[in-house]
Each structure stands twice: as structure tokens, then as C-alpha cells.
């Protein structure tokens, strides 16, 4: 059975489209900033439950894998050093990578920003005369909103990762960087498949149950037709190896392998920070990433390819190196540490704020600790959404403990709060503390409003405030905290710190 590409209006806000319209046009623009967004999210009881189940499972699995790896700390340290080396000499490694890739028959492009990256990808696809492309899960292309750009150009971009498919067919947005459909449970997935698959390709069997293997099989059948006819694929990359000119994709389902192997043309959009100096470094990251991301000793499939292989896979390959704010991050010696990130989501899975708020509340494709430290640096702090972000944190530092590349989140968050306070002071010519308070009251009221354990949060925040007291604005200056407590008419300070409470209640952490 084959189906035709067609335009669908149903469910697409009255617009005839090739692919399902994401809510809010798929971007996070115009979204309310964190406190307001989080209020909406907190109401979604089912979603919170899905989230909690999922993050608990993944946290436990990760912790188990870490305990069975005796030299875990040495591996982390090595990864930290390799990534620092890259960041500090990024121009050198990018030029080397370009040279190696070019020698391997790859066309290398450079994009200053999202718009330029999208334009390059769109032009290549158009030059191939295709009406559709298949995609491997890529947060970088979500950052640029590539799918919507292609839709405007009359090209359908099909997500082929199961979670991304759930998100795309659900007119939804990703809520997690490894498992973007983490907020959906099996019953919801079934409903989405039944309702939407028939509009965009091979329909879902009518008698499907919400049993995950059946759902996965429906996705297999729905996507196979797309894989077999696809002429162009779009990917990101987990790593670029500068010396051998290789790209690396780490995945589970085999949809990545399909995209990397079957089409004639492959376009890979990668952030400039994804480069590693050498093929040899792969051994470090292949030990770290799967254990951190999914709690597996190794994920089912890794692909390493070095440009065009005669008679095997796409014979035309393009790599787009994209900046899109990364050099701004690099320019800040405190903030640049986030560029080490390998997108494993460990920090997200342990974050108490994420677990309660969900990924959508953040207003960025990058939620959780990495999101609130990376996004305001990538996008700047002019927008209230970005300004609120560094406050979506209790400074419990669970993320610092698990991050495989040792990103010091709490330091960076404090640093970013200072930057926000400075900006607000300039704009409103108020003193620093008032500005900070203003931001806090608005940006963090959700903690008090809806959060069962807000007292403990308060206390932890105060404790952390003392620790980092030498900074201009601590996480939450104690006077402000006191006023907050007064305002809330609460004097109970629990004997546990938030961290202790968190550990007692989430005892699986190492």
C-alpha cells in the first residue's frame, strides 16, 4: 500500500498543510514566560504523572549504570578536558573538520544564524526537486524551526524518531531532549496515531490497542513507506570528528540508520560546538553518553560515517556548521562551560523543577538545567521569557552531580541571574536587589503557588544563598527570602534541606 503526499486542513487551524501544524506555529515565540507557562502546565495532572514515572525510571537506570562503571569519574574528567580543548580552540578544530570532510566528498556550509541555516537546507532540498525529506531526531533543527521553514517552501519534513513522530502527529512540541514525547502516555499515543496517521500516510490499524509494541509497530509501518521512497534526509549529529572527517549519530530505533543509508542526499545541520578533535575521542563519549542518556550500557545503534562511501548510502552529502548564538556563549568565560553539553538529558531527569513543570513551560527546545543556562545565552536576555529562565531553579545542584561533562550549573545560573539583574537595573534604574526581587517575585511565584514542597525549596534556596553569598546577588538574597516568607505568612523552616529531602524521597541517586 502506498499513499500520496497531500495537503490536510483537518486539525491544522484551517490551513492546508503537508505536515501537522504544531501548536503556536511550533515556535516558542509569544509564549508566556516561565511562571505563567508553568501554571498552565501544572494543571495538566496526567502530564505530570507521565513525567514523574518517566524521569524516575530513567534516573534509576542511569544510577545503576554509573555504579557498574568503576572509572566513571575518570571518564567524566576526560570528557570535560576534551570538550574544553575544543571550545578554547574551536576555530582550529572547525577548520580541520571542514578540511577532512571536504576531502571525504562532503559539501561544507557555514551558517551564522538559524535563518541562514534553514535557507541553506531548503535550497539544497529544492535543488533536488523533492517535496519531502525524512528527518533524524535533531534538537538543532528544532532550534531553527526547520520543519516550518520547509513547510513554507512546500516541502514536507517527516520526523522518524518515534517520540518525534508522536510530537509531530500530536500537533505538539517536544518536552525533553532525549525523549521528546515523554509527556504523553500510551493511551494518548494511541489516540494520536488513530486520529492523525491516516492524514499523513499509511493509516494506523483501526483495532490497535495502547500496548507499546503495537504502537511501535504502527510507527514502523507508517514510516517504512516514507523511508523507502525518500530521496533526501536531514540529520543533526552527536559528534563531528575533526581528524577523520566523520559524523556520529547515536540512536535506538534504526530510523537514523534508515535516513543515513537509503536516501541519495544527506544534509546534516550541526552546531559548531559538536566537533571533537579526534576519532580516538569517540571511545570516551561512547562510554558516557548512552549510560547518561538512557541508562543503557550502549544504545542499540551508533553510526559513524566519513563522507561519501562509494556504493553505500547517500552519494551527495552536505554538512552545515551553525553558530546561531554559540559564539556569544563562548565569549562569556563563565557561561561557555555549557558548550560542553552532549545533550544526554541527565540534568533534566534529576531536576525537581522540570519534573513538576514539564518541558513546555520553559519556552525553549532546551528545558531543565541545560535549557535555563544555554537558552538565555544563545538568545540573549532581551525577552522576558529568556530573562525568567535562570530563575526556574532551586539551586539544589542535583544536575551538577550527574552531568557527564561536569557543567557547573549553579555557578552559571547565579552568574546569569546577575546578568539579568544588571539588565533590569539599567532599564528600570532600580537598585540591584529590587530588580532581582522583581524578577524573582514574578518569575518564581509558581514555586510557592503550586508546589507541595515549596517550604523545602525556600529553605534550600536560602541555604544556597548563603553559600554563594560572595556574589552580588545570590540565588535568592536572604532579605528577599525573608520578605517572601513574610508575604506568604509562613515561618516553618523544615529541618531537612531541600537536597536531603530530595535524596530521601528520590533515594536512588548516587
Amino acid at each position: 500500500m502506498t499513499t500520496e503526499l497531500r495537503r490536510i486542513t483537518e486539525g491544522n487551524y484551517g490551513v492546508a498543510r503537508l505536515t501537522p501544524a504544531p501548536e503556536h506555529g511550533g515556535t516558542f515565540l509569544g509564549q508566556p514566560k516561565f511562571p505563567k507557562a508553568v501554571k498552565n502546565e501544572l494543571k495538566l495532572v496526567v502530564q505530570r504523572k507521565n513525567m514523574r514515572n518517566a524521569t524516575t525510571t530513567i534516573r534509576n537506570k542511569r544510577a545503576l549504570r554509573v555504579t557498574e562503571t568503576p572509572n566513571w569519574e575518570d571518564i567524566r574528567q576526560a570528557a570535560y578536558e576534551v570538550k574544553n580543548r575544543v571550545g578554547r580552540h574551536l576555530d582550529y578544530y572547525l577548520e580541520q573538520a571542514e578540511k577532512s570532510l571536504t576531502a571525504n566528498g562532503v559539501h561544507v556550509h557555514w551558517a551564522r544564524d538559524a535563518e541562514e541555516a534553514n535557507r541553506i537546507v531548503g535550497e539544497i532540498a529544492k535543488a533536488k526537486g523533492v517535496q519531502e525529506v525524512v528527518k533524524i531526531k535533531s534538537i538543532t533543527t528544532q532550534e531553527t524551526d526547520l520543519n516550518e521553514h520547509l513547510e513554507e517552501q512546500g516541502i514536507a519534513a517527516w520526523e522518524t524518531d518515534l517520540a518525534e513522530l508522536i510530537v509531530q502527529l500530536g500537533h505538539d512540541r517536544p518536552s525533553h531532549i532525549v525523549v521528546p514525547g515523554i509527556h504523553r502516555n500510551r493511551a494518548e499515543v494511541r489516540e494520536i496515531f488513530l486520529r492523525e496517521m491516516k492524514n499523513y500516510g499509511r493509516p494506523c490499524p483501526e483495532d490497535i490497542t495502547s500496548n507499546p509494541p503495537e504502537l511501535a509497530n504502527a510507527a514502523r509501518l507508517h514510516l517504512r513507506e516514507k523511508f523507502l521512497r525518500a530521496k533526501v534526509a536531514v540529520s543533526g549529529a552527536n559528534f563531528i570528528l575533526a581528524d577523520t572527517g566523520s559524523l556520529v549519530i547515536v540512536e535506538s530505533e534504526g530510523n537514523g540508520r534508515m535516513c543515513l543509508t537509503l536516501p541519495d542526499t544527506l544534509i546534516s545541520l550541526v552546531g559548531i560546538e559538536k566537533v571533537l578533535p579526534s576519532y580516538d575521542d569517540l571511545e570516551i563519549f561512547l562510554k558516557l553518553l548512552p549510560r547518561s542518556a538512557t541508562g543503557e550500557r550502549m544504545n542499540p545503534y551508533n553510526s559513524v560515517w566519513s563522507g561519501v562511501t562509494p556504493n553505500d548510502g547517500p552519494q551527495e552529502q552536505h554538512v552545515v556548521f551553525m553558530d546561531n548564538g554559540r559564539t556569544n556563549v563562548l565569549a562569556d568565560p563563565v557561561g561557555r562551560e555549557v558548550l560542553r553539553c552532549i545533550r544526554c538529558a541527565s540534568c533534566i531527569n534529576v531536576c525537581p523543577v522540570y519534573e513538576r513543570a514539564g518541558g513546555h513551560a520553559y519556552g525553549s527546545v532546551y528545558p531543565g538545567p541545560i535549557g535555563i543556562t544555554l537558552t538565555p545565552q544563545l538568545r540573549g536576555i532581551d525577552d522576558p521569557v529568556d530573562r525568567g529562565m535562570p530563575y526556574a531553579c532551586t539551586l539544589c545542584a542535583a544536575c551538577v552531580e550527574v552531568c557527564p561533562v561536569k557543567i557547573p550549573f549553579t555557578d552559571i545560573i547565579v552568574h546569569l541571574r546577575n546578568r539579568v539583574a544588571d539588565a533590569e537595573r539599567k532599564e528600570f534604574s532600580t537598585d540591584v536587589e529590587v530588580a532581582a526581587e522583581k524578577a524573582l517575585m514574578k518569575a518564581a511565584a509558581w514555586v510557592l503557588g503550586d508546589y507541595k514542597h515549596w517550604e523545602t525549596t525556600m529553605y534550600a534556596t536560602r541555604a544556597a544563598g548563603r553559600v554563594v553569598g560572595k556574589h552580588k546577588i545570590g540565588p535568592l538574597p536572604v532579605p528577599v527570602a525573608n520578605r517572601w516568607l513574610d508575604y506568604r505568612n509562613v515561618d516553618h523552616i523544615p529541618s531537612q534541606t531541600f537536597r536531603d529531602w530530595w535524596k530521601a524521597n528520590r533515594g536512588e541517586e548516587k
Binding site: 514515572n53 518517566a54 525510571t57 575518570d74 574528567q77 578536558e81 576534551v82 574544553n84 580543548r85 578554547r88 580552540h89 574551536l90 576555530d91 571542514e98 522518524t160 518515534l162 514525547g181 515523554i182 502516555n185 499515543v189 507499546p212 511501535a216 514502523r220 517504512r224 523511508f227 523507502l228 577523520t244 535506538s252 530505533e253 534504526g254 540508520r257 534508515m258 543515513l260 543509508t261 537509503l262 559548531i272 578533535p277 576519532y279 580516538d280 571511545e283 570516551i284 561512547l286 562510554k287 543503557e296 550500557r297 550502549m298 542499540p300 545503534y301 551508533n302 559513524v304 566519513s306 556504493n311 553505500d312 548510502g313 553558530d323 559564539t327 556569544n328 563562548l330 565569549a331 568565560p333
Partner: protein
């Protein structure tokens, strides 16, 4: 300024604080590459870890491989057709033909549709990793191009015990010459799987849903 020059200029401005221009001197990396890990029984560990992914492993003496491959095909449920790379050991191919399978050799290249409509694929391997239960293909003659071991639903893979190393770093080091020669690598750890629905692992999405490993005691 074109995009490349501009991005490089931005990077140089952003890293003016980095004064040592030699990356290796500026940031040493304290890591010894290519090390194995202590293990009593490397091959046994490999076997166990592969089984942990709910794949099947059978051991075979070198002389028994043709029969083991045929038995593997039958065990995975293949009944009619099998894809093989052109460089696959001839005696294995003969055994499959003798057992009644239609052997489709990828020379000239088979179409995607043919691959999709073939029951199984049989390949050799380049490396095995005990700690993670991983098989690595470098897609040379006895493994074939990447699509072969991807599109059919069942994969019977022959791994020699002598190819199995303790950990990822050893394997990555051993495979460096393949990568330098331009070969792609595929690391396979169990069959295709997803944890995207409520993080419960479901085996089998797009890649072969059944993986059957013949471990040759060479």
C-alpha cells in the same frame, strides 16, 4: 565577510582570553586511549551481555558455522529468502541454498524494495565488545553496504571469538584503520529498540527486529 570568515572571527574574538595557541598544551587530556578492562571471561561476558538485549547467541566450532547459520535463519522465522553481501563466505551461502533458501547476493545492488521483501540478512562482523554486548560492522566485503543489515527484518550475524575485546576503547582503536580507509561503522547493541512510550523498552522498530548471533570459537 562570508559566513565562514565571520563565524571564525567571532570565535577568535570570543576566545581572546586563550593565549596558548597549541590546543594540546593549553588543555591536556588525562586519559589513556584504547585500554581494555579486566575481565575473567571476555567472550563469555560478551555472550551474556548480548543475551541481555534479548538477542540469541549460539556458539559454534568453525566447521559448524554453515549449519549454525541455517539453523539461525530458521530460528528467527525466515522461510524463503535471504540477502547476503557479495563477500560472504561461500560455504555459508551454499548451506543456505541447500536448505532451500533463495540466496539474494547484493551484486549488482538489490533495490530497497527487494531488501524490504527479503526475510533475513546474514553477515559477518568486524568486532565484538564484551562490556556492552556490542557488535561492530565496518561494512567490508563480508558485511556489505549498510542497507543490507538494516532493511530486512532478521539479522543473523557471525562473530568470531577472536574479534571480541573487553571494552569500547579497544574496539574503537582496532577499527581506526577501517575508518581511515573510508568505511562507515555501525555499532549494534541488541536489536532495534525504543523506549519512547513511557520509557518502556520495546524491541524492534525500524532495524531488524530479531538479532541472532553465531559466536565462532576460533
Amino acid at each position: 565577510m562570508d559566513a565562514k570568515q565571520e563565524i571564525l572571527a567571532r570565535i577568535r574574538r570570543a576566545t581572546v582570553d586563550v593565549t596558548e595557541k597549541d590546543p594540546v598544551k593549553d588543555q591536556p587530556v588525562n586519559w589513556t586511549y584504547g585500554l581494555g578492562i579486566e575481565m575473567d571471561d571476555v567472550v563469555g561476558t560478551f555472550e551474556q551481555k548480548v543475551i541481555d538485549y534479548s538477542a540469541t547467541v549460539v556458539r559454534s566450532k568453525p566447521a559448524g558455522v554453515p549449519e549454525a547459520v541455517v539453523a539461525g535463519l530458521k530460528a528467527t522465522g525466515a522461510t524463503d529468502s535471504v540477502v547476503v553481501p557479495a563477500g560472504l563466505e561461500k560455504s555459508w551461502q551454499d548451506a543456505m541454498t541447500a536448505a532451500g533458501f533463495e540466496v539474494r547476493v547484493d551484486e549488482p545492488q538489490l533495490s530497497h524494495e527487494t531488501l524490504d521483501q527479503t526475510d533475513a540478512v546474514v553477515t559477518a562482523a568486524a568486532s565484538g565488545i564484551a562490556d556492552t554486548g556490542t557488535i561492530v560492522l565496518d561494512h567490508t566485503e563480508d558485511q556489505g553496504r549498510r542497507a543490507l543489515s538494516l532493511v530486512p527484518d532478521r539479522h543473523v550475524c557471525v562473530v568470531k571469538a577472536s574479534q571480541v575485546v573487553s571494552d569500547v576503547p579497544e574496539s574503537v582503536q582496532n577499527l581506526r584503520p577501517s575508518v581511515e580507509a573510508g568505511h562507515p561503522l555501525t555499532f549494534i547493541s541488541g536489536g532495534s529498540a525504543t523506549s519512547d512510550i513511557e520509557l518502556s523498552r520495546v524491541d524492534g522498530v525500524h532495524g531488524p527486529r530479531t538479532l541472532y548471533v553465531v559466536l565462532v570459537e576460533d
